[in-house]
Symmetry: C2
Subunit: 542 residues, 2 copies
């Protein structure tokens, strides 16, 4: 027996119509490439987005056609976030920071039909344009002059459509957006988010215990819109009608803080690297703290250390630690302190806040240890598996990759984690970065955190290197801070009371820098390659 409810699909169309009609007075603020500020309202956004959707339809967009975007964060990207899907297409956000060959691969694999690109990014586009086959390239003319043939000028494109548009009736399972993972191994792989997934994810972000998106918020995510839907922030902000602020390409701390102050931002987000740079700016000039409001500050992409969370709290910036990946919508877990943990001592609370948090409603998590599902004891490590309505069940047009899912349909994340008795998830490593020594696991991340707490250490990467007796043993790769010094023995002594003896790295290498991916993650694969023939000294500890 079915319910008597209306058949009302969960689509971005409703969010667009709602914010345009109900929140037409709310502002959307963008920094243009030249640093100047563009402002308009949701009412303007609504009309231009409708015009863009009409233009796409008039130009012959077919249901499910992929339209790529190659843009910074700004209002035209927001218009694309909605116009393309509500017209029946799929917005495919392209990562500006990838190698041109990878971008070409991704465009070709996704079979993108058209592309929308910032004029200031045309030099980058030139590096791969001959390797792709795009029917139409629409250029956003920030430079002031109209885009010339063979390109289509965005403003001209949307102004020619004119009049009203009849948006198609969409099924909520249709794809609305697409994003490719920028994994550290293998070819990039695509995920296609359905309208339903994006809507449910937006609901999840608005919950009081996650990010509590409100119409009363001013929201500035320092997260690229080409990266996993910018955490879903734009969809959730539009759903509640919050003021949105887009930083464009100026992502330095001073530019961000200036927007925090001028627009009185209340909710932001960024990776730890961004948060560190904001903290440094605040420490250099503590008067910022009087000029900016209290801000909730989402953090994901990597775990923010406790020290970062503590120091930002003092400036009124309150980190909300979340975890997810392109494959999970992205937000799968969000940290908050449960009521029954009130009154815990401050150290315990900060330790909890540095964990990845608890699963948001309708996301399930579990940890698979060597001999079955791990208990929620905070210590048993294993691979994190996840499922939910905004988790992908496969990669786009990649039927051969099946080993990323369990037989019962959970996504294998490739992350090693524990879950404690209160349900708090703690990621300890990537599976491929674990060191397997004598049948036991050593967490490279835990060793790196311990090494980073040494005053002379700027960066640390710990990798597994083959060992004749133990299988693998840890090697520490260290970047010292400027003018600082430390020896391997000193670092070893520093670690001695922080980790068990058999975890201690057997060797310490000092380098100038650690290779990183386009999104700032350490490229351990390159380090493993570099040190694969390492020859252990006789006293190797195992």
């Amino acid at each position: 027996m079915d319910g008597t409810m209306m058949n009302f699909p969960l689509t971005l169309t409703h969010i667009l119509e709602r914010c345009g009609k109900l929140h037409g007075k709310t502002e959307i603020v963008s920094r243009r490439p030249d640093g100047s500020i563009h402002r308009y309202t949701y009412a303007d956004f609504y009309h231009r987005t409708h015009a863009f959707a009409a233009a796409l339809q008039r130009a012959g967009l077919k249901r499910g056609d992929r339209v790529g975007t190659f843009m910074w964060n700004h209002y035209v990207h927001l218009e694309s976030y909605f116009a393309i899907p509500v017209a029946g297409g799929v917005i495919h956000t392209l990562n500006l920071r990838l190698h041109p060959d990878d971008i070409a691969f991704i465009i070709n694999h996704a079979a993108d039909r058209w592309l929308v690109v910032d004029d200031v990014l045309l030099p980058l586009f030139d590096q791969f344009k001959d390797k792709v086959n795009l029917e139409r390239v629409i250029v956003v003319p920030f430079g002031g002059s109209r885009a010339a043939a063979p390109y289509v000028d965005y403003e001209q494109f949307i102004s020619q459509a004119g009049g009203d548009v009849t948006l198609p009736q969409l099924n909520e399972h249709e794809a609305a957006a697409m994003c490719y993972t920028s994994g550290t191994t293998g070819k990039p792989k695509g995920v296609a988010y359905s309208h339903r997934a994006l809507v449910l994810h937006a609901f999840a972000l608005t919950m009081a215990d996650t990010f509590a998106f409100s119409q009363r918020d001013v929201i500035l995510p320092v997260v690229p819109m080409f990266h996993a839907n910018a955490g879903g922030f734009a969809h959730a902000a539009a759903m509640v009608g919050a003021k949105q602020v887009f930083p464009g390409r100026q992502l330095d701390a001073a530019s961000i803080l200036a927007l925090f102050e001028r627009e009185q931002v209340t909710l932001s987000a960024g990776v730890p690297t961004v948060l560190w740079s904001i903290l440094e700016a605040l420490e250099r000039d503590p008067t910022w703290a009087q000029r900016i409001p209290e801000i909730r500050l989402g953090c994901s992409g990597a775990a923010p250390p406790e020290a970062l969370i503590r120091k930002l709290d003092k400036f009124g910036l309150h980190v909300i630690h979340a975890w997810g990946m392109t494959e999970t919508g992205p937000v799968a877990t969000v940290n908050f302190i449960k009521r029954e943990l009130d009154g815990s001592d401050e150290n315990r609370v900060y330790a909890l806040r540095a964990m990845q948090g608890v699963p948001v409603p309708f996301v399930d998590i579990r940890v698979r240890a060597k001999d079955g599902l791990a208990p929620w004891d905070g210590t048993t490590m294993g691979e994190l598996e996840v499922r939910g309505p905004w988790v992908t069940a496969c990669y786009f047009n990649n039927p051969d990759i099946t080993d990323r899912w369990t037989n019962d349909g959970w996504l294998r994340t490739g992350d090693v984690a524990t879950i404690n008795e209160d349900g708090y998830l703690r990621l300890t490593d990537r599976i491929k970065d674990l060191i397997r020594s004598g049948g036991e696991w050593i967490s490279s991340v835990d060793l790196e955190s311990a090494l980073m707490s040494h005053p002379a250490v700027g960066e640390a990467a710990v990798i597994a290197v083959a060992h004749p007796k133990w299988g693998e043993r840890p090697l520490a790769v260290i970047v010292l801070k400027e003018h600082a010094t430390a020896t391997g023995d000193e670092l070893r002594a520093h670690l001695a009371d922080k980790v068990v003896r058999w975890w201690l790295p057997d060797a310490y290498v000092f380098v100038d820098s650690i290779p990183r991916t386009s999104v700032g993650k350490m490229l351990k694969s390159e380090l493993r390659e570099r040190y694969k023939d390492w020859s252990w000294s006789a006293e190797s500890q195992g």
Copy 2:
């Protein structure tokens, strides 16, 4: 092209599993019929609910079977809210306050197979048991002794099931709960809520701009669980793992305030009558204010007057005005003050807060005036129409009732409303209560509010009575406060500067009480019947 997302249905099963595993330590507190307090945790709730589901399956529950509940608000009702749907059945909450004949009609129309009933309600059950055909009646033994044949004892029933239960894989469109409207005209009509509708509704309640349900809340709705899913509060509370407090049958202000204090409640809800009684108790003994926390106080069922909202604010009880009906999930609109209205003067803010608020995401509202859709101007009146994923598309097994929906599928609410330029809904009347005078509409509710502001008036109902010249004219039915006096001329003078002249009631009748429905709404149909042959005096104003 569909997304690559997992097929993960939105069912109550996920909510049950989540709160049991993730929030096992959170308390659920109930007042038993004898006034004593019962406490247990979500972990206990989870185990007992699983046991109840197992018992239902073992007893032969088939998919879609209706199981009625005839209970006050307490933990067993909560167990029923989840166990029956996750076992594949449909919980059908029965309104204790209806006439026994109506209850029998409803049970028979819904074809309820089994019933769960409080032992203290058996005397009420006895009044209709011979008119219904229930296979099994399960009695909750609060009295201490086990229920005897022919009844089944609830505790025995769930303890016999034993062991683990394999819950069925449900489709999200399957019915989970059912409720009949207690309309003032016609036979009761049933609405069947799908799992999907209840889940999406729960998401909507947890949003920062609605009720912001949080795991950190302590939630005590003074709303019967047999009335429109208790506003969806139990589902939303379980989804976030909030502490829940159930008042049982003791709904007087002193009992409620005692629970507010003892359990440190942070979120509550009730109809205006309940809120008035709480206010009176606070005014009698202002020391309550020091003993209870700040509370968010949902209010629906009727519009809370500005004066009520203002006075409760002073005691730290902050009214959140919401609107909905059994047919709409129930919550369709919730009031909050938009950011751009910050700094409005206090009177304007209170006037806004006394309106029904703005539609929650994924609910659409519109007003149909005499000549088409009304603009959002705050003055054009017409019938409110609504649609959304938790709005019913029909009545259960009532294919002949189609005039409640428009041709394009919106629910016609029977309410007369305006929407202002900021999207705030204001209900002005029920369609059937409007007075149609000389082709124009007069709002009975506005007249009643104006009359209620006279110090001598305790209650006021304004009804339409046929008039030879004007079609209809307003008649005011007044209950004076104890020991107070007022004449029709005095009331007429009081209204003179509050409404336009042609709205002024042509006659004033003084009575001892106004007839009301089981949920406290004025029974204007009875008044119209009583005064249908009213003879207007010569000076009738029209």
